[in-house]
């Protein structure tokens, strides 16, 4: 390789030597010189031929074409002139005549000028013919002048005569002359054409021969030169192609001392370097390919993950907006547009949306600014409005995306429509704190409001009131008309309550027909009293339910903070107690809580505690008071009366413990025992009384409310073999007021078993003849209070008489209670009461004593 390089370097030294070596330049110059000489020869020959041809053409044009054209022009102008001449007499309008004459004059002038030029070019041998033509034209011109003069003088007819006869011959002579000239010119032209053609063919043959010889010599020289150059260039080309294709066949063989030989030496040197470089590149390429393959694999995996994440964002139900650090929005997904109600163009064209909250703008803006400064994620929930005006709740989250260097690169804003969730939350909260029927706060919220009211009152030094309200007639309406009507009553009651209290006061439904009114900011109890009176008055108006009017009063108990308690539960309980006071006070009224109520309540609870187990402990017993026939005083039965003898309390009055038993439900168990015990005792007395002994047993409304009463009575009758009509169940009017279906069905069932049913304490309550008629009563018992004043009170007397007559009219047995005097006895007997009961015939006594009194044996 070193030797080749030196050889190339050595070739740059002597230009003189290269010239002597017949270099390519020398050979090319020789070729060009030879070609140039050949071209010059051909050019000179062709120039000579062209010059000859041009000269022949010029002669032909001068000798034949110009005269021929001029002759034709003359003929045409003569024809035009003749046409104008003949048209002249045909003019319809004298005003057009002048124009025509002008044209004729013009045509005449043009022909004269053309003829003059034409004659000037005619050769001497044509002189005779020229003279003839001039003569004819002068004659014709004179005729035309005469015709035009006549026309100008408006003498068209003579003008037409000249045209038709005289000028016709002159025109014909001119035409004939011109035709003859044309014929001669055409013959001369034909001869000249044949001569020129022969000369041209001879010159063409010489030119072709000269050109052919020159091209043969030049071709041979080019062939020799091109072969010597081309063969070696082909070898170089093939070697270069192999090198380009990557195959190495070693150094090429060098021939010749010219530029191609030097090129071959240089090529071999280059080939050595290229091969070495190629080897190095191949190695590097393989390493690079391995690295690229690995990177491509990683890139594909990253792309796949990116596509997945991108698709996840695109499909995400959470709205996503990406903005650059300048706040320019770069991307939003579909959900973002759905959440905000904006269109993509406006969002992408605009800046990062302002996240101010209309209500809490300062707070939001400060928090957001802090989050942006610190790159800390920020989130909030807020109420927003879409461009179409619809409102929604959204959850906003703003996060900063950092680049590889930890610098903020993008802002990521996520918006989620949480309206549905908010709605559910509100619904749940509503259901948890509000009564579904009336929409009023429920017990939980009421207690919370009561707590707030108490707290407020404590801070302000004022009072607050808890008003416990119970509808007096709700159960009756609910049982009579059904639950729908009951619900309607409750709703109307709620409306009336809300109407009479202040907006800041709370009206809550605690359950059933119980309402609670909470009022704050009171100076004293008189403020609460005024509201209670308003409520009573509001409920005085009839309720319209299912097109019927109903009366439903309210009983209200009130407790004041802090006088009657400081805890909501205590206030509620005390108000409840006060409400019971109101109930007991005859309903449709209100009561404030006081210590006596509380004490009574405590006492009642204590009594209840003691009553529990009294039966098992044998503290309860039955006393029997005789029932005698009014007519003769004969014993016909007895009423069983419950007595409680407590070890510490002694004998407890029935009107004390029986209500407690009623309220506590102990009456159910006790009542069952009373029934069984009374029936058991009556068995022996019936036998002793000739098989007739009516045993009367009081049954409480609570027992009717419990299932199994009828079955218990039936079992008792069967167990003790009580004949039909010998057991009388006494019920009070309180039972009837409820008038539930269960009560009606139970009484009917008892009647069906032959058990007599008695209406106790008739006249003391809400006695209604309708009750008497609509229930299967056998007996009514006139209350002792009417009997006691029978002799002094005419009113009582009238009432008793009326009751007895009514019973007679209805076929009922009448029992008069509390008979203590003979006068009473006689009066009642006279009025035909059926049965009498009272101290006059015997006090209530224990069974043994009763048996001893009436049957003489224990």
């Amino acid at each position: 390789m070193i030797g080749r390089t030196e050889r190339i370097a050595g070739t740059g030294g002597g230009n003189a030597g290269r010239w002597l070596r017949l270099s390519l330049l020398v050979r090319l110059l020789a070729m060009f010189a030879l070609g140039g000489a050949l071209g010059l020869g051909v050019l000179i020959a062709s120039q000579h031929m062209l010059r000859d041809a041009a000269e022949r053409l010029e002669r032909a044009v001068a000798d034949q074409v110009i005269p021929l054209a001029a002759t034709h022009r003359l003929q045409t102008q003569a024809n035009e002139l003749r046409t104008l001449e003949l048209e002249l007499p045909q003019m319809h309008d004298f005003f057009a005549l002048a124009q025509h004459l002008e044209r004729m004059e013009g045509a005449s002038e043009r022909f004269s000028r053309e003829l003059s030029v034409f004659l000037g070019r005619m050769s001497g041998e044509q002189a005779a013919q020229s003279a003839l033509l001039i003569d004819h034209w002068q004659r014709y011109r004179q005729d035309l002048a005469e015709i035009m003069a006549l026309a100008r003088a408006m003498e068209l007819k003579p003008a037409a005569d000249i045209s038709r006869v005289r000028s016709r011959g002159a025109y014909a002579a001119i035409s004939a002359n011109l035709h003859e000239l044309v014929a001669k010119t055409e013959r001369a032209a034909e001869e000249a054409y044949l001569s020129a053609r022969a000369e041209q063919e001879r010159q063409m043959r010489f030119f072709l021969t000269l050109s052919l010889a020159g091209f043969v010599v030049l071709g041979g020289a080019l062939l020799v030169f091109s072969r010597s150059v081309a063969l070696r260039l082909h070898k170089l080309r093939d070697a270069a192609s192999r090198l380009a294709a990557g195959s190495n066949h070693g150094a090429i063989e060098v021939r010749g001392e010219d530029e191609i030989g030097e090129l071959a030496v240089a090529f071999n040197a280059m080939q050595d370097k290229v091969v070495a470089r190629e080897q190095w590149l191949r190695t590097a390429h393989e390493e690079l390919e391995d690295r690229v393959r690995a990177r491509t694999h990683d890139l594909a995996a990253a792309n796949a993950r990116l596509r997945l994440l991108s698709e996840a964002i695109e499909q995400s139900p959470v709205g996503v907006l990406v903005a650059n650090v300048e706040g320019r929005v770069e991307y939003v997904n579909r959900a973002y547009l759905d959440v905000t109600g904006c269109d993509a163009e406006s969002v992408l064209a605009g800046p990062m949306p302002v996240l101010d909250d209309g209500d809490r703008s300062g707070e939001s803006r400060a928090a957001l600014a802090a989050a942006l400064r610190g790159g800390i994620p920020w989130e909030a929930e807020r109420h927003n409005r879409r461009p179409d005006g619809s409102q929604y709740w959204e959850h906003l989250r703003l996060a900063t995306v950092f680049d590889e260097r930890g610098a903020p690169a993008h802002l990521l804003l996520m918006r989620e429509d949480i309206s549905e969730r908010k709605e559910q939350e509100e619904k749940v909260a509503y259901q948890a704190y509000y009564d579904a029927l009336t929409g009023l706060p429920n017990r939980i919220l009421a207690l919370d409001r009561l707590q707030h009211a108490a707290n407020h009152a404590r801070r302000d030094g004022t009072k607050c009131a808890a008003m416990f309200l119970d509808l007096d007639n709700f159960k009756q309406i609910n049982d009579t008309l059904g639950h729908a009507a009951g619900d309607t009553l409750l709703c109307q009651a709620a409306e009336r309550l809300r109407a009479v209290v202040r907006d800041e006061d709370t009206v809550a439904r605690l359950g059933g027909d119980e309402f609670l009114v909470i009022m704050g900011g009171l100076a004293d109890g008189r403020d609460a009293e005024r509201v209670a009176r308003k409520i009573i008055a509001a409920f005085a108006e009839l309720f319209r339910i299912e097109d019927r009017d109903f009366s439903a009063s309210a009983s209200i108990g009130m407790a004041l903070f802090p006088d009657d308690g400081t805890e909501p539960s205590v206030l509620l309980r005390n108000a409840d107690l006060a409400m019971y006071e109101a109930k007991e006070a005859g309903r449709n009224t209100f009561r404030f809580f006081n210590q006596k109520i509380h004490d009574d309540s405590v006492a009642r609870l204590e009594l209840e505690r003691m009553l529990r187990g009294a039966l098992q402990r044998g503290e309860l017993s039955l006393h029997f008071q005789p029932l005698v026939a009014a007519t003769d005083g004969a014993l016909i039965g007895a009423e069983a009366l419950l007595r409680w003898d407590h070890p510490q309390l002694g004998r407890v009055a029935p009107d004390r413990f029986i209500p407690v038993a009623e309220q506590s439900g102990l009456i159910v168990e006790i009542g069952a025992w009373v029934l069984d015990e009374a029936c058991r005792r009556s068995v022996a007395w019936r036998a002793a009384n000739q098989g007739e002994f009516m045993i009367a047993v009081n049954v409480s409304p609570r027992q009717f409310a419990c299932p199994g009463l009828v079955e218990a009575v039936r079992d008792c009758l069967e167990r003790h073999a009580i004949p039909p009509g010998q057991l009388e169940i006494e019920v009070t009017e309180g039972l009837l007021i409820r008038n539930t279906t269960e009560v009606r069905e139970s009484l009917a069932a008892l009647d069906g078993m032959g058990v007599a049913v008695s209406l106790d304490d008739f006249g003391t309550g809400y006695s209604s003849i309708s009750y008497v008629r609509s229930f299967p009563f056998h007996t009514i018992k006139i209350d002792r209070s009417f009997i006691r004043d029978l002799s002094e009170d005419a009113g009582d007397r009238a009432l008793v008489v009326a009751a007895i007559r009514m019973a007679h009219a209805l076929g009922l047995r009448i029992v008069a209670e509390g008979v203590e005097t003979d006068a009473q006895r006689h009066f009642l007997a006279a009025q035909k009461a059926h049965v009498l009961q009272g101290y006059l015939f015997g006090r209530p006594k224990a069974a043994d004593e009763f048996a001893a009194d009436w049957f003489g044996a224990a």
């Binding site: 309008d93 057009a96 003088a153 408006m154």
Partner: protein, 493 residues
């Protein structure tokens, strides 16, 4: 003064004050606007070609009467070459028969532009044969007005039908009386006339004076006829109407408000009598069919008549080198009628050629050619052609040296004055050709001595009534009212 509502405005122009203002404007403006009309027309054509609205090989077909070609396209078609060079639109001129435009357009509606006489416009419009050019005028900012120095002569009589523009004036023709000045100036003739009539020999002021002159100079034995007025049937009304208009004062109407003919009125009969009065002093054959101005004008040009009535074209003919009366004739105003101390004179537009555009696809292009051709400069070159056919129709023509040399200054002055008393030609109504044909026939009958004037006018009136009924009297009344409400009566002098 733009004349889109021409008649009313023209009346004002005719007032002397307005004329004075126009003359001042002419003096100030000079030739400032000359050529502008042609330039705008050329630009509009180029615009049409550029936008493809006119194809590159478009040919405009022109239908002109014999002799019109040079008048409209210039000597050796100079104007044609100029138009084709500037626009690239080739012109193809054809000669149409010497007949009415109604007949020509009805039979050969293959022209893009042709000529029509003034009185023919109503019939062409009613027949929907020609384009309403009003929109074209507006589009190209071209308005026909009579403002000096280069406005049109009385375009209200030549271009409009109602308030629409249907023609562009291109040949101004009113009737002019030509007399032999050499005879009037002859002292022997003057003495003889004074002796015979008791007043100096002078140009006539009334039709009676005219008839007296004709009688005086009627010397057939000397080869001199008193008058060579046309009495050919075709166009007879043109020589009758100036007589009627000057007779029928104060309102020269052919119809009353209900379109009842007034032609059989005393004025109509007197005009007819005047029309027939010159026949005895005319050359034999004067009433033969076909003896139109081709018959009468050569006689006057050859010095064989004392008087003739023609258009200003007569002056060009009589002033030509071949004329025997060159330098021996004079143009004078048309005679009138004496009413008290006043002479009432009236004239009408006779013959005349207006450029009209037949309905067709090249209407826009044809309009632009007409706009170019009637440009003050271009039209002066066409009217100034020595052997031309069109007569001056713009004010600048009257001052053009070429035109003044052709017509003579004296004749052009009379010509300009006569426009002041000119009236609408013919009836100015649809059916004009029918109305005038009846009148021509009856006038010829009177001229030939076949019918008395009163009878002829009565027959004419009766036939006119029939024509009116056939065309719809109410419609004719409406058109008459709409189209001619601004036309004045004859002017009293």
């Amino acid at each position: 003064m733009i004349l889109t509502r021409a008649p009313r405005l023209f009346r004002k122009v005719r007032e002397s004050t307005a004329v004075l203002v126009a003359l001042v404007a002419w003096a100030i403006a000079g030739d400032a606007v000359a050529g502008d009309q042609a330039r705008r027309a050329i630009e509009a054509v180029r615009q049409l070609a550029t936008t493809g609205q006119v194809p590159g090989d478009a040919v405009l077909r022109l239908g002109f009467k014999q002799g019109n070609v040079d008048a409209f396209l210039g000597t050796d078609l100079e104007l044609q070459r100029e138009w084709e060079r500037d626009t690239g639109i080739r012109l193809e001129a054809r000669v149409i028969p010497q007949q009415s435009a109604l007949q020509t357009l009805g039979a050969m509606p293959l022209f893009d532009l042709t000529v029509a006489r003034n009185h023919e416009l109503p019939d062409l419009v009613a027949g929907d044969l020609i384009e309403d050019l009003t929109p074209h005028f507006k589009r190209h900012g071209f308005a026909i007005d009579d403002a000096r120095p280069d406005g049109f002569l009385r375009p209200d009589l030549q271009a409009f039908v109602g308030d629409r523009t249907f023609a562009i004036p291109a040949d101004g023709d009113v009737a002019i009386l030509y007399l032999r000045r050499d005879l009037l100036d002859d002292e022997a003739e003057q003495a003889a006339f004074l002796a015979a009539h008791g007043r100096p020999l002078a140009a006539p002021e009334t039709w009676q004076e005219y008839e007296a002159l004709v009688r005086f100079f009627h010397r057939p034995e000397q080869g001199l006829f008193g008058a060579v007025e046309e009495r050919d049937t075709e166009g007879a009304w043109m020589y009758w109407l100036p007589r009627f208009l000057s007779q029928a004062v104060p309102h020269a109407d052919l119809f009353d408000a209900q379109m009842r003919p007034l032609i059989d009125s005393p004025a109509g009969i007197a005009a007819t009598e005047s029309y027939a009065a010159v026949v005895p002093y005319s050359p034999p054959g004067i009433t033969d069919d076909g003896n139109s101005y081709n018959f009468t004008l050569p006689l006057f040009a050859q010095g064989r008549a004392f008087a003739t009535i023609s258009t200003i074209a007569g002056a060009r003919l009589f002033n030509s080198a071949a004329s025997s009366v060159r330098g021996r004739f004079v143009a004078v105003p048309m005679p009138g009628t004496r009413v008290g101390e006043r002479i009432v004179r009236a004239n009408t537009v006779i013959y005349g050629n207006n450029l009209v555009v037949p309905k067709g696809p090249n209407a826009g292009l044809a309009f632009l050619f007409a706009m170019w051709l009637t440009d003050p400069d271009v039209s002066a070159r066409s009217v100034g052609v020595p052997g031309g056919f069109a007569d001056p129709y713009r004010w600048n023509h009257l001052s053009d040296p070429r035109i003044r040399s052709v017509y003579s200054v004296q004749a052009l002055q009379v010509f300009a004055d006569e426009w002041e008393v000119a009236h609408l030609p013919g009836t100015g109504l649809p059916g004009d050709a029918e109305y005038l044909a009846v009148l021509d026939r009856e006038l010829t009958a009177v001229a030939r001595g076949e019918r008395a004037p009163a009878e002829a006018m009565a027959r004419t009136a009766a036939e006119w009534d029939e024509i009116t009924e056939r065309l719809g009297r109410a419609e004719q009344i409406r058109r008459r009212h709409d189209w001619h409400r601004d036309q004045p009566g004859p002017l009293a002098q």
